[in-house]
Each structure stands twice: as C-alpha cells, then as structure tokens.
C-alpha cells in the first residue's frame, strides 16, 4: 500500500511554494469558471486541495501499480507485430489505469477535457510516475505534445486532437533521423503539399522515436524543397488512423526497456500542418523540447528518488564487520551526498516549473486580451528565466540521477551487480536521461548563453542573494557569495579572450559553476521555510564550494594555447 506522494514530505513542501498563489490565480484566470464548471476550483485553497487529492491518486497508482509492474515490464519489453507496437502487459495495464484515473491531459484546459493543472503539480505527477517506472514516464509524459498542439495549432485542430488525451490516446514526437540527432537542422523527412486535395504528405524515415506507434504524432519535416537548414522545416500532426506509417523495428536498449524506441517509415502518410510553415524547428520544436526537457528533469528526480531509497534501505539492513554498513563513513557520506543532490535537483526542478508556469500563463492570457505593461514585463522575465533554467535543470538533474543510481548500486556491493535487486535497473534507466532531449553537452550549449549574457549572475545577485536568511545560516550565504565572485572572475577571464572555441571548451565548467551556486541558494532558501533542508543546504553548498574552487583554479591556469594539447 505504498503511496509515493504521501510518503515524501518534500513534495508537499514544493507544492506549497509562495509563488503558487499567483500561478494558480493566473492559470485559473482569477477563478472565473468557478460557478460554471463543477470541477473548476473556487479559490486558491480549493485549487490546492484539488492538486493534493489528485497527486494522492497518482502516488497510489505509482506505488501500487507502476512500481509493482516495473520489473516484469523491464524483462518483457514491447514487441513489433506486423509493423505495429505491442506494449508489455504491465505497460498496458499502467496506461489503462492512469487513463481510468483521468490522469492524461493534466495541464490542458478543461474545455478540451483537461484538468487545467499548472506545470508544478503536473511535473510532480511526472516525478511520481518516474519513481514508479522511469521508462513508463515517457509514454505518460508524451502528453506534453498536447501542450504544444494547444499552444500553436488551430482551434479546429485543438478540438480534434486534444480531448483524445483524456480518452487514452497516446502521443509521440518525431524529430530524430539517422543523420539528424543533436543537429535537427539536417532533418530530411519530406513533406509535400498536394494541390489537388489540399493535404500534406510525409515520406521518409524517423529513428529513435519513443512510443513511435502513438495515435497522434508531431512530426518535424522538410516542407521547403531545396532548403538545407532549420528554416526549411515545418511541424505536422500525423494521425495513425489515416495510415501511411509503419514501425520497421524497435531498438534493443540498455535501459527504459518498457518504452518502445521505434524506427518509423512514412510512405505518403497524410498529415496536417501545425501553425505556420518554416517555424517548425525554430519555434515549435524549441517549445516542445523545453517541455520535454522539464519532463526529463522530473524523470531524473523520480529515478534518483527511487535509487536513493534503495541505497538507504540496503545500507541499513546489510551488516559487515559486525555492524550495519551505514555506520561506515564511506557509506554514510555517499548517502548524505546523494540526498543533498536529490533535494537540490528537486528544488531546481520546481523552481524551473514555476518559471514555465508564469510565462505560459501570460502567453495564453495574451491570446485572450492585451497584457498591460507590467504583465508583459513579467512574461518576458519568466520566459527568459525558463529558457536558461530548463537546460540547467536537465543537465544537473540527469547527471545527478546517474550519480545517485551509481552510488546506490555501489552501496549494494556485489548484490548491486545482480538482477535480484531493483538498483541495477535504476542504473540502466537513469543512463538515458543525460542523452535524449539533447545530451548534456547540448544542454551546456543552450545554458551557456545564460552565463555569457550575465542572466544567471543577475538572477543570483538580484534575487537569490537578496532573500532574507536566518542569522545562524548567514555563513552559508557568505560561502555562496564567495563562489559567485569566483564564478564571475572565471566568466570574465574566459570571455575576455574573444575566441568562441575557448568559451566552448570551458562552457561546461562555467555552467556547472553557475549551477552549484543556484542550486545551493535554492536549498538555502527552501530551508527558510522548512528546517529539514538546512542540513542539505550546508552540505550541498560546501560540496559546490569545492567544485567551484577546482574549476576556478583550472580556468585560471589555462591559457588559450593549451587548447592545442586537447585537440584530437
């Protein structure tokens, strides 16, 4: 009778962040539907009570169904029969139960049969699903595609494709091709417009597509003949019911084995254009990917939570040298660091979710009425923050999920290497998080802008550093201030050279330095509302301090000419 929501107090804590008051009011347009719709909240408390109750359902299903099925799903996996995907039995059961519970279309407006939940509770549900089964989180999380349809498609398309989420239809995002992975500008799949019937037709191959046999797919395709870059790409909705697409094979993978990763062949598959031509990659996919990266953040935190718990439990039970191994410094240090990383990753997950909530709410309101100056400025501010925090979140949370799972396995000793314990699966499942939706290297490419333009520094100095901190924790802020100074000096040194390859070379270090400071502040600020985080704040900040000092020393001693030593 495990409930993954109620057994983790940290979730309620993050759900209760002070900014939620504003987020909920914006999302609910000041509760204007209260009298009209019986599931619309009447006020802030009512809305929060809804989120809490619904998350309890999610936690129940994740603890008692998804987690119970995870092993058999990993073992059995999906298969392809006559060009169609058949899920493992457990995967199908997970999907059916979550559909019955009304947990698809969570963030969509009620008029499309959604629950109209903000990102924060939706992302929290994603974290819970991931703790239950990291692979299944993909199939569930692809409801993000509906969010993109909601944002950019026509009203008619919205009416047609959005309510299907609540009915259990699944989604896929078809971007990657054999020759277009990190570099999506090289997408080749062809979209041809047929004058006769006024329809678009897709021809070509997609690779590595999660849940590729979904009912509804968003496909990135080259609509402009003769073009070779991102500006020739458009986005299409493909409905499987119309035929023209088959699954050629599914990949045999290291982890997330329950999630079918498909190679798709499109042959004259009819599709509908979303929004405007040529904006496929530069506008719509960017938004889709940002949503999906937030999803991978949640997936990473969920897997990390599961792994941490496995490690902790094993360390308490296993005895060697006459005592529980958790009593050895080498083991308890691992666990304490794992916990601090987990809490830091979760903090930045919900901080980013709040930024996304704020700007998305304003974006949708802007479609209904003109925003006033103040609102426009807020929208811009949060959009910028969301843009730089999303890659930072994905980088840190996915790398931490791997580190936490790795250490949790290490704590299991030889048993960790065996299939008898869930930890080996968690290690395998974690491994994808820093690869798809853009590898960690590509997250750095996206986040470095926040470093070079000074946006991270601005957020640190003008927001986080200004928060009031309890006197007895003041020294933690002093450490963070010192780290910020070192970061600033390193950025100045690296950018002063004026050589882009030099910046690229140090980019990861710089982004990580910013990350240690930001995650440290977030934990420190969380600990003002709740004592439980004070320990992790101190531990994480001291850990970050050592990392930042190391990077600063490396950068300080590094000359432009040293690049040559590294070149292959």
């Amino acid at each position: 009778m495990a409930n993954f929501y109620t057994d983790n107090e940290d979730l309620k804590f993050h759900l209760g962040h002070p900014l939620m008051q504003k987020i909920v009011a914006l999302k609910e347009r000041n509760f204007k539907d209260a009298g009209k719709c019986e599931i619309a909240p009447r006020d802030f408390e009512d809305a929060m009570d809804n989120y809490d109750r619904v998350l309890e359902i999610v936690g129940d299903i994740c603890g008692n169904v998804l987690a119970e099925n995870a092993e058999s799903v990993d073992h059995e996996g999906p298969e392809v029969i006559d060009g169609r995907v058949k899920y493992a039995a457990g995967t199908q059961q997970n999907h059916d139960i979550l559909t019955q519970a009304g947990l698809y279309g969570m963030s969509l407006p009620r008029e499309y049969d959604g629950l109209n939940f903000p990102m924060v509770p939706y992302v929290m549900a994603a974290e819970l699903v991931s703790r239950g089964d990291g692979g299944f989180a993909n199939i569930w999380g692809l409801q993000d595609c509906a969010e993109t349809i909601h944002e950019f498609a026509s009203e008619e398309q919205k009416r047609q494709y959005l309510p299907r989420a609540a009915k259990g239809d699944t989604y896929a995002m078809d971007l990657t091709e054999p020759d277009a992975g990190s570099d999506l500008q090289s997408v080749q799949l062809k979209a041809t417009y047929c004058e006769k019937d006024g329809k678009w037709y897709l021809n070509g191959v997609k690779r590595f597509i999660t849940n590729g046999d979904a009912h509804i797919s968003l496909v990135l395709a080259r609509s402009e003949e003769g073009t070779h870059d991102g500006r020739g790409l458009s986005m299409f909705i493909y409905d499987k019911a119309n035929g023209g697409m088959t699954v050629r094979r599914i990949e045999n993978k290291l982890g997330i084995k329950g999630s079918p990763t498909c190679e798709l062949v499109f042959k004259d598959a009819p599709a509908e254009l979303v929004g405007e031509r040529k904006l496929g990659l530069i506008k719509y996919v960017m938004s889709l990917m940002n949503g999906a990266r937030l999803g991978v953040g949640a997936q990473s935190v969920g897997i990390a939570e599961a792994a941490y718990r496995e490690g902790l439990k094993y360390a308490q039970e296993r005895r060697q040298f006459g005592k529980a191994i958790i009593e050895f410094p080498a083991v308890y240090e691992m666990l304490t660091n794992m916990e601090a990383k987990l809490q830091a990753a979760r903090s930045v997950l919900y901080e980013t979710s709040r930024f996304v909530d704020m700007y998305k709410a304003y974006t949708h309101i802007a479609n209904e009425r003109a925003l006033n100056k103040e609102e426009r400025e807020e929208m811009k501010k949060y959009q910028k923050l969301a843009d730089i925090f999303t890659p930072l979140l994905k980088l840190f949370s996915s790398e931490y999920a791997n580190e936490i799972a790795y250490d949790a396995l290490q704590i299991h000793g030889g048993s960790g290497f065996m299939k008898d314990y869930p930890i080996e699966r968690l290690v395998r499942d974690a491994r994808i998080t820093n690869i798809y939706e853009g590898t960690s290297q590509l997250q750095v490419v996206a986040a470095i802008r926040g470093v070079t333009t000074g946006q991270f520094l601005k957020q640190i100095r003008e927001e986080y550093e200004q928060t009031s901190i309890r006197p007895e924790q003041e020294y933690v802020r002093e450490i963070l201030k010192g780290m910020t100074g070192a970061f600033e000096a390193a950025v100045t040194k690296v950018t002063a050279v004026g050589e882009s390859e030099y910046v690229d070379f140090h980019a990861r270090r710089l982004v990580e330095m910013a990350g240690y400071i930001i995650l440290g502040y977030l934990l420190l600020i969380d600990s003002q509302r709740c004592d439980r985080f004070a320990k992790s704040a101190e531990i994480f900040v001291k850990y970050g301090q050592a990392k930042v000092a190391g990077y600063a020393a490396f950068i300080n001693d590094f000359e432009l000419k040293d690049l040559g030593m590294y070149k292959k």
Binding site: M1, G35, E38, I39, P41, D49, N50, R53, V54, I57, D60, I61, I97, Q100, A101, G102, L103, M106, L115
Partner: protein
C-alpha cells in the same frame, strides 16, 4: 435494452490487514480507533462489477447502500470517485450493535425503498468475516442469489450470466433478475479513483457530516444538489424495531481470545531430494500448502 438499476452494498471496515500491536483492546474487542477505516476490499470488487455493467449498458445507474455511523458517508464518496452515481447511508443509533441478521434485515428494509435490477455485494467483510449478509439479504427479499461471483459475463436485462470461483474450479451459471450477487476477491480489482470525480464530489456530505459544515458548504449544495448525500434514519425505512440493532441480533459473543502465533517447532533438513519430497508430502497432507 434499457439501463439497469444496480445497488451495491458496501461497508466501511477497520483495516484488519495491517494490524499493529494496539489493534485489540484489553477486553478483546477491536480497537476501531487504532485502525484506519477503509472500503471493505471485496465490496470494491463488487463495485467494479457494477461499474463495468454501467460502462457497457447505456443508461445504467450504480448506487451504493451502506449502513454505519455518519462518517461512513466516506464509502459513498469513495464509490462516486470511482464512477458510482450516488448512494444512501443508513445511519441511526437504532442500528447499533447489529449482527449479520439485524444488518441484513435493516439493509433489506432499506432496499425496499429502492428500485433495482441487481444487488451486488462483496463476498464478506474483513472485520466480521461471515459472508452471511449478502445471502441473508437475498432470502429476506425472496431473490435468487449467486455467490462467489468472479465475473458478470453477460446481462440482457432479464438474465445474467456469471462466472463463479469455487474451491475446486469455476462454474458459469445463469440467473433471472432481479437477483443478489456476492463477489469474490479474485474478481477484477476496482478501478482507481478518477481525478475529475474526486474534484467534483469531494465536498459531498451526509446529513450528520453536514452538521459540522460551514456556510460555504450550504451555499455550494444550493448550486449542486448532488453534494448532499442521502441519509436514512430508522424513520425512513419500514421496519420492526425489535428486529433491529442489538435486540434483533441473536449472535452473542461469549468470549474472545487473542491468539498469539508462536512457532516453537523447528526441523532441520539436510536438503536431499528424498527429504524434500517427504516434507512436501507432509505439508500437503496437513494442508499447510496446497
């Protein structure tokens, strides 16, 4: 075929599955305060069978009938969270101390207030473990009954086809309607609570619960009458007072013993095939396994 009217009998029970040290009081009775009150597990299986009929036969309604204290209205809400249309709480001091006979009598009197094509209940409750209430209700209403049901396979409005799970196999029977069906724990588990239904019905209250409610609740009930759950007292049913509650309960508990399991014996086997074989045979013969 027109929609069916289904009544599910459900009970709120103390969760006796995960009992702690303080589950029993010193006098040998169940310490209800120490155990969380839950939806009797097999009643959830019964509800699922009803909801499946509602899914497939248009116009079908599912209502829950439960007898218990004011807080047992929670059972009706829990059923509505899963798709039931509503329910009735039978609650009065006059019902206190009911054994299975008095309970089935009170329930059958309440059922006379209702129209039904099918009455579905769980096989037995985890607190009393008698499995008597369903069959007794059937007898009192002079209805045919099908016990140990695992799946209601077909229903044409006049005849239901039901798969029964028996000790040594399965049996498929047909039965004229209306009838009483008691559902086994091996039947399909109940569907989860649905997010929309939870948001819609979370403020529903029974009459006794409403006594503690604030103005907001009454304002809301004005707009949404479905938030007022029907509660019946002894005056709302036609019954013979002598057959209710303690006076209607011939069962007398003479003595309750708190049995503490203690494994004292131990056998050490060396692990040869012959030894294991003998052990298996012994365990099967004395019904420890099999």
């Amino acid at each position: 075929m027109k929609g069916l009217k289904i009544v599910v009998l459900a009970k709120q029970v103390p969760d006796t599955r995960n009992v702690g040290k303080d589950a029993m009081k010193a006098d040998g009775t169940v310490n209800r305060a120490a155990l969380p009150a839950i939806f009797n597990p097999e009643d959830l299986n019964a509800l699922e069978q009803a909801l499946r009929l509602k899914d497939t036969i248009e116009g079908t309604t599912v209502h829950v009938l439960t007898m218990g204290p004011g807080r047992a209205a929670e059972i009706i809400r829990e059923a509505m969270y899963r798709g039931a249309d509503g329910g009735y709480l039978l609650s009065d001091r006059a019902f206190a101390g009911s054994d299975t006979l008095a309970t089935s009598y009170a329930l059958s009197c309440a059922l006379r207030n209702l129209e039904y094509d099918l009455i579905i209940c769980g096989r037995q409750a985890i607190d009393g473990d008698t499995a008597q209430v369903g069959p007794q209700v059937a007898e009192k209403l002079a209805l045919p009954q099908v016990t140990y049901a695992e799946d209601i396979q077909k229903c044409d409005g006049k005849i239901v086809t039901i798969k029964r799970r028996l000790e040594r196999g399965i049996e498929v029977v047909t039965c004229p309607m209306p009838c009483v069906v008691t559902v086994n724990g091996s039947a399909a588990p109940c569907r989860p609570r649905n997010a929309r239904f939870v948001m819609k019905y979370k403020n529903a209250k029974g009459t006794q619960e409403a006594q503690d409610a604030n103005e907001d609740y009454f304002a809301l009930v004005n707009e949404r009458p479905y938030l007022k759950l029907t509660e019946w007292s002894v005056n709302d049913i036609q019954s013979n007072p002598a057959d209710l509650g303690l006076s209607g309960s011939p069962t007398k508990v003479k003595n309750i013993e708190s049995v503490v399991f203690q494994a004292k014996e131990a056998k050490v086997l060396s692990g040869t095939d012959a030894e294991l074989d003998a052990m298996m045979k012994e365990l099967i013969t004395n019904h420890t396994i099999g």
